[in-house]
């Protein structure tokens, strides 16, 4: 198997990420570092969708449901217990548990395709409506007032076991970056395990996977829950970066941009959607700092041009380009081999098809 070569790429990317983590605070401005934590949270969301959709073949339009639940679970838990470590675990747990229930409902009901997309989106929209409804004083979990439309404050991260020591923004950036890198390496590892390969096989052909005695419902549920847990983790860093969580995390546009990061980055890759998140966020933010053009006008044009010119997404297109060059090389060497064999066959006059 080609495991080792594939994984080398992963490690190279991880090392690049680590290098960025170490040098970014030296090179970038302080406010950029502070801002990056929230973008990293979004990147983890994109990664989770890249896993669930790109590898599991599950078009989860409402991946933001888990992202938002993670963010809310973190904010509420951290406000109540005063520390962030338990709250992070809680966020992951809540997102995963919710996905387990929803996934059971969906996959064991054999809902798939665009119908699945709409169910998950609808779930996110229900959470959007419900959280926006919580502006009354009666919506209080422990000490945390949910705050409806205005949302609720998300406490900063602190040292594990020492709730009094709040992390500096640089440290939060380090923690978020390392979480992103670990999540990325984890996903790369996961898709190469037996479990991951079966998920890919299911994406390719459900019937065949079933006939090979794999319970596809279980595998889909599994990757769905893992994706949700990751999205929940992303929600934590996002709300810590923003210092607040509002119902907007469940909105239609948030759900749509998550899908768009994956399309732009390329389905079937894990690094593509992460890079796309950073790039598109940078674009959006730049548009907000200028007064010449309407932000939507530019963003819309970029997306349209993109889908027409780079339909497969950035990373797969780059891989394709590299592949074409490699194939030319391979073709040349194969031709040489064939020529060799033909001369040998000519000598032996052996049977062909056998």
């Amino acid at each position: 198997m080609r495991l080792s070569r594939d994984f080398r790429g992963t490690l190279v990317i991880a090392v690049c990420g680590l290098a960025f983590t170490l040098f970014a605070p030296e090179v970038l401005e302080f406010f950029t570092i502070i801002t990056l934590s929230q973008v990293i949270g979004l990147a983890i969301l994109a990664l989770s969708l890249a896993l669930v959709w790109g590898f599991g073949g599950i078009l989860c339009f409402g991946q933001t449901a888990f992202f938002g639940l993670g963010a809310y679970a973190y904010a509420v838990t951290a406000t109540n217990i005063g520390g962030s470590t338990g709250a992070i675990l809680m966020a992951i747990l809540v997102a995963a548990a919710f996905a387990a229930i929803l996934g059971y409902f969906i996959f064991y009901g054999r809902v798939s395709d665009v119908y699945l997309a709409i169910i998950t989106l609808t779930v996110a929209l229900i959470l959007y409506s419900l959280t926006r409804r919580t502006s009354g004083p009666e919506y209080k979990i422990g000490n945390a007032l949910l705050g409806g439309f205005n949302g609720t404050a998300a406490p900063p991260l602190n040292l594990p076991g020492d709730a009094g020591t709040v992390l500096f923004p640089e440290d939060t950036f380090y923690v978020a970056m390392i979480a992103l890198i670990l999540a990325y390496v984890f996903c790369c590892w996961l898709v190469r395990t037996h479990f991951g390969r079966v998920c890919i096989a299911i994406r390719e052909n459900e019937t065949r996977a079933e006939l090979l005695a794999y319970d596809i419902r279980l595998y889909k549920l599994g990757i769905f829950i893992i994706g949700a847990a990751l999205a929940g983790l992303g929600g934590v860093f996002f709300c810590v970066g923003v210092s607040r969580v509002t119902p907007d995390v469940f909105s239609l546009s948030q759900a749509a941009v998550a899908i768009i990061w994956v399309i732009v980055g390329g389905r079937g890759t894990l690094i593509g959607p992460i890079l796309a998140t950073f790039a598109l966020h940078y674009l959006t933010a730049s548009l907000g700092s200028q007064a010449l053009l309407n932000a939507n006008l530019v963003l819309g044009t970029v997306l349209i041009v993109f889908v027409l010119l780079v339909p497969k997404g950035v990373v797969p297109s780059i891989i394709d380009l590299a592949d074409i060059r490699r194939q030319r090389r391979v073709a040349r060497s194969r031709e040489r081999r064939l020529r060799l064999r033909r001369t040998r066959n000519g000598n032996e006059t052996a049977g062909v098809g056998k």
Partner: protein, 289 residues
């Protein structure tokens, strides 16, 4: 008793409203498998057409019934030729492209007309009195128009070549494209038609809704959920899903409040899709249009 009649009419209007905002989307999705995320903006454009036209002295009926579908239909054809036709069979890519389109339209309208545009129109047709209750005559008119529109689309599907291809596509998308039906032209007309129906809906809603460049976002999710819940059959799907979801929404909203009304609509859609994983017409009324 007056309340019951009046409320029944109100719920009927809620259903018609849902069907009206969903029908154009159902045509485009059902026949072309294109997920049009710019659907809300098509509705908005219909409304804007009416506002701009009436501000310039055009009769409101002409603006609503003629100009709105015409303008948005032409925009639809242009969009199909320039953008959508490159993306057939790539359902997911249409998602990205039409999302981009929706942002572009919002951006364009905002850049041209500003964040809001003053209007002078108000709903024609006065008030209907039922006992001690009053209802809007215009809303009753919209119920009638919605029914007529459904009938017109039914006739188109049943009696024209376009309809024949449409039914073929609905039953077996691969087959009809494999048969090499001149899909290009048919698709262009279909998309234009879907856009025109959407524009008409947007125009008709103009006198009773707020019209802003960003208002499309309010409709898109609801229209989508209705269409998908309905399943593949354009008319039966839209009609049954609108009736179910609109009915639930109206009743719950009256009994409890608007938030729970919205939530009830969404929950109904989820339960429905769990019980009928291919939408209503994927399980019932399979042979219908």
């Amino acid at each position: 008793m007056d309340l019951v009649v009046s409320l029944a009419l109100q719920i009927l209007y809620g259903i018609a409203n849902l069907a009206l905002i969903s029908l154009g989307l159902a045509i485009i999705f059902g026949m072309m498998r294109v997920i049009n995320l710019a659907h809300g903006e098509f509705l908005m454009l219909g409304g804007y057409t009416v506002v701009i036209a009436t501000n310039n002295g055009v009769n409101i009926w002409i603006a609503m019934l003629v100009l709105a579908p015409l303008v948005v239909g032409v925009i639809g054809v242009v969009v199909e030729r320039l953008l959508i036709r490159w993306l057939y069979g790539r359902m997911i890519d249409t998602l990205l492209a039409t999302w981009g389109l929706s942002l572009l339209i919002i951006g364009l309208v905002t850049s041209i007309f500003g964040a809001s545009t003053a209007t002078t129109i108000s709903p024609p047709l006065g008030v209907i009195t039922i006992g001690s209750y009053t209802s809007s005559g215009y809303e009753m008119f919209l119920i009638v128009v919605t029914v007529l529109l459904l009938v017109a689309v039914y006739a188109t599907l049943k009696l024209t070549t376009l309809g024949l291809v449409a039914r073929g596509t609905m039953q077996n998308a691969e087959m009809s494209s494999a048969l090499g039906v001149s899909t290009s032209r048919i698709y262009m007309i279909t998309f234009g038609l879907g856009a025109a129906v959407t524009g008409l809906a947007g125009g008709l809603l103009a006198p009773i809704t707020g019209i802003l460049p960003t208002i499309g976002a309010v409709y898109i999710a609801k229209a989508f959920i209705t269409v998908i819940s309905g399943g593949m059959a354009i008319l039966a799907g839209t009609a049954t899903a609108s009736a179910l979801l609109g009915g639930v929404n109206g009743i719950v909203a009256f009994l409890t409040g608007p938030t729970l009304g919205e939530v009830a609509l969404l929950v109904t859609a989820i339960i429905l899709l769990r019980l009928m994983p291919r939408g209503i017409t994927g399980t019932l009324f399979r042979k219908s249009l």
